[in-house]
């Protein structure tokens, strides 16, 4: 339950974990732990519970805490666990952060939810408060302009990158040029790709890796892609990326959480369905996912 120092530097493939919850609202800890074991065995470099894919927006505080505790316990220090924190208020975000620290997380992935628009001062106040509450743990800024009602300006990111433990950024826009602008201006900030970016492109530009749902379904291939990129074998990396991109396409087409839960269930990890009123995928979508998994069978 200590915050491992060996696990305080993040790099590589960090699957965004789904949150399996039964119809009574209880986290299916056994299933989640089995998935964690599988992913670590396949060589992933870290784990990220409570990202978008992890349905953070649909879980209450108790469910969130249970997810983090389960993942930390199953990871058992083998890889770092970077827990999602997401709230509309500073107060709730700080409380979530403290609970994540107490539960043994190795880092915080910080998201700002908003209902009314927030100006830059408010945005920076929020992330700074999370960083302070995280104490010694590194913080990953997470910005997702598609689903959140606020976005981090590059100016704000540059200022926030000067807060001691704000060390990483995960950007979930589809705009890779924005990442390059951030890299140029916030030099100390480590950049992770999200599933809307092409990981091999972000690696080429100097990214550290990716945090994304599809890596749950293709952990070994993702690690291989990472290794090829790290080795500078770009032609082989691109060839693999082109095939893997089909996974990102289906994740973009179907609701993220529904899709990852369905795909993992097909792989033998019974993740259940997304939380209501989100709807389970229909038959056509399941067939489509199944077809893609079969097409990629040799690399999965």
């Amino acid at each position: 339950m200590t915050n491992e120092t060996a696990n305080s530097v993040f790099r590589g493939v960090f699957p965004y974990l789904p949150s399996p919850v039964d119809s009574g609202g209880r986290v299916r800890e056994g299933e989640l732990a089995a998935l964690v074991d599988h992913l670590v065995a396949k060589g992933v470099h870290g784990l990220t519970p409570l990202g978008s894919t992890g349905e953070f927006a649909y879980l209450d505080d108790g469910q969130k805490a249970a997810v983090i505790r389960c993942v930390v316990s199953a990871a058992a220090g083998r890889v770092p666990v970077v827990a999602g924190v997401a709230a509309t208020t500073v107060r709730a975000a700080v409380e979530q952060t403290r609970r994540a620290v107490d539960a043994g997380a190795d880092g915080i992935l910080a998201v700002l939810e908003a209902y009314f628009p927030v100006n830059e001062a408010g945005v920076e106040e929020y992330f700074t408060a999370v960083a302070e509450a995280a104490g010694a743990l590194p913080v990953v800024l997470y910005t997702n302009p598609t689903f959140q009602r606020s976005d981090l300006s590059i100016d704000s990111i540059v200022r926030l990158s000067k807060v001691g433990n704000i060390r990483y950024l995960k950007d979930a826009s589809a705009n890779t040029g924005r990442l390059l602008s951030i890299m140029n201006r916030a030099e100390g900030l480590g950049i992770f790709s999200a599933s809307a970016h092409i990981p091999v492109s972000v690696m080429l530009l100097g990214g550290l890796g990716w945090m994304a749902g599809p890596a749950c379904v293709a952990p070994a291939a993702s690690v291989r892609l990472y290794d090829l990129a790290r080795a500078g074998d770009w032609p082989a990396a691109v060839a693999l990326q082109k095939r893997l991109w089909k996974l990102n396409e289906i994740f973009a087409r179907y609701s993220l959480a529904s899709c990852i839960k369905a795909a993992l269930t097909m792989q033998g990890f019974a993740m259940g369905e997304p939380l209501r009123p989100q709807q389970p995928l229909g038959e056509d979508a399941r067939k489509h996912i199944k077809t893609v998994l079969e097409e990629l069978e040799d690399i999965l």
Copy 2:
């Protein structure tokens, strides 16, 4: 604490109440009760805690319950209290509804929050579950396409209007034509205007009244506008509406909760500031609001 039957028919001016919360996170019950007393004395026909203006998206379950209890107690059965319920999951919405019923609310204003898009089946499942949990209480559907990530299609509204206790709709788009289409198709549904619509226009078309933040600041003038419209004195109603519209303009210009809290504080009701990281209004905005309040002094 019973759900008054005299209060089960809604019509007229329902101010959207702000939620005053101190820096320690406690609801300022004395201030809120004083505001309720003032509004009832001015003749408003109902009260709506936990709408958008009430910062529902920024409060935890305990704060929400405290707000409802305080308003129900201060209203003391003199006017109906329609409590906001807003969640991303069916499960949380049902729990909030039950707590509102237990706290003595006379109706439920139901909002669907979303992170991922939800299809029509999911949307209808959500509102139907809230209606069922509301038992005997009437439910007001509330749709705000600006801030929520889902919208109610007119087809869904027509279907939901057939659920026994779904009896009203408050639409917060600025599209009055949409209201007319809904009136034409969902005949049994009572329509309330929001602050983005022009109340006198909605009344002309057959609306029942309005639920909106500005009515907190101008309760007497709002009631007078309602009475003129009910009496069919449209020229006088329009003349008053044109002046009152300035209030809606400032509420549209500045963040709703910040603006209503600042205006009420100027009127002697210490509502404090919006919850962080929302930012208090700057000096220019306060001066602008003050000027408008002064311009309208004779009717406020």
Copy 3:
């Protein structure tokens, strides 16, 4: 071909005329003149060729000039003709305006098309140049935020309303509150409703009438609605408005030009199809329009 002074004050129902063009690109002048005659006979107060419904964005300069000449000639001074001018450059707009003046138009409906965003100074430069080129003719500002890439800020509208012959505004947002704000701030400007607004609401607030495609299909009922509103018989006006609104609903649902051409063809005015690559309406859409026309038969 003189610009009639009796026709320099605009008020009432101005149908937005479609532009019938045959497959060789020639304006079907006979059909257009027959429509003009019909509308004038039904009592409309003016005619507006080359609005959105008139497919201005799909016609070349020669076609535009032919449409204006045809409408002016058919109207024969009985009602004013307000011709649309739309361009991306000041230069082209000025040339179009001069041609419209030469063709005998009684007023100019001015639209700014944009590809790159334009700032307020550019927007005002454009409309001021059109007004100057219009000489003695009154100008109607036309703003359609759905289809144009620029919008007129209320500040710009207030400043432009001080240009001598900029005397009217037609706003095609669906936001009636915006119209009320404009009326409050730009007192000398006469306001016309577009099909996205509810005419009776705009009349109640002090509007002068409406310029819209559906009035082509329902000229007599539109004139009756106008007369009821002018007489202050609001209950009767609303009752008629509720029925007529079905026409606006189908115009909003199907592409404007396709829909108006199809409906008029059903009424015996062979308007042809929208210009390619716009597609003709499918069978289901035609049936839907036919059904609505039948439902309204008693008032059309």
Copy 4:
């Protein structure tokens, strides 16, 4: 004036040329020819007049024809000239295409402008008609979701890629993942990057080059970047790309045409100002551009 067969295969750096026009509306042919000479001398692989940067949306047919003739004449067969064609109607697009063929263009860059939304059938009809009118010349599909009101679906692109002479695509979204999806599905289609994408990323994925405004300002560095990418020297390519990206950033920040004209004027090519009512850049913007040009002086 013949359509050179050696120039019918496109690959490499194709600067998007600005369209210098004097206040009387005449194309400044001398200045444009001087720019063409300069770019060819620096090694660019082709030239693209009448793209977005070339203000196609602001020029009349005569100006467009003059621009193409001037560029074809100045290029003198040394590199291919791919002329932009953009219209709202099939009819106008076909006429423009014929004029471009007659003027000696080596290829067509085809853009669909829209006012009302167009469905897929309409979109495909338009591009197919342009391709037919282009005869033997290759066609580049150009899609710019930011400024155009229609977008090409991937399904439409796949179908259009089967038209014989539709051989290339230039996508101006910022979504590089979309390019990868297109590459995976439309195998025969050659892909060019636009300025919103990162050229080195698109080259890594198998792109053929880029067509973009910034290449006018940095032709030699762009050619060097292309050569490094072609040679597979990715680390050197990325290092150069990171510096060059500053140019793309300023082009994204300031209106494209204004920015390119200002930057080229600083470099000694008097391109004048964007067409009115577009506004010239202010002093701060010019200083910003000047600073970036100075920072990159060693590679420009």
